[in-house]
Amino acid sequence: MQNNLLEGLKEHENKLLTIWSQILQESGAGDGAMEEEESKEFASLFLSALSKSENAQEFEKVHDLIVGIASSRGKRGFSPRENAEYLISFKQAASQILSELIKDPAQLYEANLKLNEILDNMTIMTFEAFMKGREDIISRQIDEISEISTPVIAVWDGIVALPIIGTLDSSRTQIVMENLLQQIVDTGSSIAILDISGVPAVDSLVAQHLIKTVSATRLMGAECIISGIRPEIAQTVVHLGIDLTGIITKASLASALQTAFDMLQLNVVKRKVIVG
């Protein structure tokens, strides 16, 4: 019954499109040719879905389309507000036509109510699509960061180094630990150097993560040296009352490497140049 009321819209598709683009132009939310095509597709699909009554499948197509439009508009730099206005202006155009078609106030009210319900739902969907697009980007970036940010470097036969850059949180510690331990197994290294000169700040949580990593390395049968302790970090650690006495700490990677050489009973000597 209500859909029949809305069905009248189908015959006025062109008029609807004209009014719609007009409103869009006025509000400044327009975007030229590309949008016109999208709008045309949307309007025709929407109206045909309307005429096929309450068929959920038909509306799913419209939903897919509007999600697609929303994310493509999002990529083109539209704000979610503009996306919503895009649909709201369609609603305005449609109700304008409805008020011309239907003379009975009660029926007009019914039809408008129905139209509102359908289109409001779609407006919410555009927001959701926008947010989902953003979240996808964020999660992809997180993956990428965690993947590129924990390289394990074999610096010598039996010595691996792992420079940590950026803040250490639990999930990152997990990745760092896994990578480091796996690398220790793969290379058969007995010493791991953890360089934290790229860690901006050490709080008690980060220190705890470091201690965990060191304990895990020891359990594997390798020794762990923490290097790159800056003066500020040393100060914070002491002020926080964190006990790092069981852990070998060095100020620089160079001195950590020297310690590692000592442990492996290696000696680095300068070659004597024989002149003449």
Binding site: V185, R218, G221, A222
Partner: protein, 132 residues
């Protein structure tokens, strides 16, 4: 009853755990091992857990117990070949097995035991990186 074989290699005992340990098996291993140490008056125990993929807190405690018990009986315990996942689990459980000495593989573990023997025989201070 299922038992884990304990092999005698000179002064040392070699235990390779090739099945996932359940509690009863671990307890048997503990008592068997201590008895064998006293029987042969062994100086070192090498436990290879490279095939163990799951360790719970109970197992961690048993390992720690074995180390402390053998220490009292004058035998050094070395645990070798711990899987990365196992190490992470133990640390997350808060068991860092402080009394247990670890080595990467059996070869290194044997070397370590020998160097320890050497140390205690000669009473010569030697820098040992696996000692805590």
């Amino acid at each position: 009853m299922e038992r884990i074989p304990i092999l005698k290699m000179g002064q040392f005992l070699l235990v390779t755990i090739q099945v996932d340990l359940y509690d009863q098996l671990a307890e048997n291993l503990e008592s068997d091992l201590i008895n064998t140490i006293s029987k042969h008056s062994s100086k070192g125990v090498l436990i290879d857990i490279s095939a163990v993929s799951i360790i719970d807190s109970f197992m961690g405690r048993i390992l720690g117990n074995i180390a402390v018990m053998s220490k009292i009986m004058d035998a050094q315990t070395v645990v070798v070949g711990m899987q990365p996942a196992v190490a992470i689990t133990l640390v997350e459980l808060g068991l860092s097995l402080n009394g247990v000495i670890s080595a990467l593989n059996v070869e290194r573990g044997m070397e370590l035991l020998r160097s320890k023997m050497h140390n205690s025989d000669n009473e010569e201070p030697e820098y040992d990186y696996d000692n805590e």
